[in-house]
Symmetry: C2
Subunit: 333 residues, 2 copies
């Protein structure tokens, strides 16, 4: 059983994932991605993954766990957290722990092994965003879960261990520190100004027009003012909403359009760059929050986290966001 443990000083949680017992000699410093060979995410190999929890298919008589799907969601075969059991929260002297209960799922974005997320046609990419919604709605039914972190790792350097285009989600029994920091930070701004800080950022960015990468009627994509990584981008809905689940059909279409544009701009600037993206939104079953604003953060993997970053929480970025935004805007797509 994996375990969740809390650092008693700063409240950072970690997952002790013991599914695979490791000895010191088992640690390989640089994981290399398996290229070629057998792919468990390809059509025809459905039996090599756990049974799917969701599939989309254009075929009317499509059977679950068989080829013919456009997108499928399956539990991760090597989950960081396990779905069965109770939390058993307990203390150990001054320390706090609970069982590592959660869901860890893989969203297989396309049946085509050679298609990347960046190059997905819009009618396929929109299904990825719809799958996030459908899984969030389903997992919100489980009262043990407080938050679902949706994320994507692309490229070995960004942590992807499989080449076939996929994203992941982890349902957690606690709200992660990064999200609660954002919620607290935006609440303290709201208390002072009576305005959502993200809405203010959107207004200022559109006015200044120095860090905007792309814009449509419903979304804005910017390089943030204080990016951790070169070419970091945020995609924000222009209309205030604290949850991803507030989106209607038009939003899903507009999100697909701007996300696809941003990824293609990034890929033109730095072809095949490894990256992560993450969805930030309000906790599961939260009331709509006036002070918090859901968004995506896209982080190209171009720098290393070394001693200074570990120790300080500071990041060193070697390209000003205004220049990065200009490169992205100028990229031919």
């Amino acid at each position: 059983m994996p375990e969740l443990r809390k650092d008693p000083i700063i409240g950072r949680w970690i997952i002790i994932s013991t599914e695979r017992g490791k000895r010191p000699t088992d640690f390989i410093v640089e994981k290399s991605e398996t290229r070629g060979g057998f792919c468990p995410l390809c059509p025809g190999n459905e039996n090599t993954t756990p049974p799917e929890v969701l599939n989309y298919s254009s075929t009317s008589d499509h059977q679950a766990n068989r080829p013919g799907w456009d997108l499928r969601v399956v539990p991760n075969k090597y989950p960081a957290l396990v779905i069965e059991g109770s939390l058993n929260k307990e203390g150990d002297g001054l320390y706090d722990r609970m069982n590592g209960i959660g869901a860890h799922e893989v969203i297989i974005e396309t049946p085509d092994h050679n298609e990347t997320f960046t190059n997905l046609p819009p009618e396929r990419m929109i299904k990825v965003f719809l799958a996030y919604r459908d899984r969030l709605l389903d997992l919100a039914q489980d009262p043990r879960f407080r938050y679902v972190m949706v994320f994507k790792n692309f490229g070995a350097a960004a942590g992807a261990s499989l080449e076939h285009s996929h994203s992941q989600l982890i349902a957690l029994p606690i709200v992660p520190r990064m999200i609660s920091s954002e919620i607290e930070g935006s609440l303290s701004y709201y208390k002072y100004k009576e305005r959502c800080i993200f809405c203010d950022i959107i207004r200022q960015e559109i006015n200044q027009n120095k860090r905007v990468v792309a814009e449509n009627e419903l979304f804005l994509a910017i390089v943030p003012y204080a990016p951790r990584s070169p070419f970091e981008m945020w995609i924000l809905p222009k209309r205030h909403a604290s949850s991803y689940l507030a989106m209607d059909d038009d939003h899903f279409k507009a999100l697909t359009a701007i996300f696809s544009e941003c990824m293609r701009r990034l890929d033109t600037c730095i072809p095949n760059v490894p990256y992560n993206f993450v969805l930030h939104g309000a906790p599961l079953r939260s009331q709509p929050l006036d002070h918090y604003h859901w968004h995506f953060e896209i982080m190209p993997k171009l720098t290393m986290i070394a001693g200074f970053e570990w120790g300080s929480g500071f990041y060193i970025n070697s390209i000003p966001p205004e220049e990065a935004a200009q490169y992205l805007k100028d990229a031919a797509i």
Copy 2:
């Protein structure tokens, strides 16, 4: 001029380091370490670094910036922050920035290119710890600086770009988030319990004796209860002190003994593992704090920061700290 910028939502600072103008095509994803060839940190090449700010030598007639030193400290040739100038703190709409003023120095730990920190003889390693003290004392004189982050990157995977054994320090005009979180967290514990949380951790770890790696009269080395990385270790002084500068001669000797032991244990478990270590202590010119406790954190580089970690601030660790501590204790050194 580099720039310091603050994320307005969670207060995270970043450094825009513009000393080297970069275009998108300049980003190389995996830096490879230069092995062999010319080493700017070797004796005889003193003129290829900026002039030293400190040197220790056993030779009575040793001249600055000439061979014959045991240890030297020089400004980083490619500094993240620059020493000359004023902070010019200012707003930009809802954003906050200041000039990137700071010191970035390299502590060259030995004249011998082939010696690693782990294998330094005690009489050499103690000089490294004394050099940290001497530089902290000197930099504390500059009222622009609030904190000095001392850290070491070993191995290309941990961010070291030079092979010759060295550590670094960055003097900052603000207290980094990681340190202020620790100080705030330990203050809230102190307010409730009237005890230092680190002192309580030391007592509990000695009693439980499940995560102790090494111990001597003045220091304790543990795998922390909630480690971010497999084989993470903390070295804590047993006698309460919030600042590294509180150490006397006996402490420097005992610190060297336990640090050397921990590094050799780690190296036996995972030979030549890349790692970072960082010194955490009270801000410069701070009063002694009853609630905060200086310490070192040693982080082997064995896992990758991917989307989940970026998005959540959670870490996934695949070996329970009790097992890691046992491996480290059992290692033949």
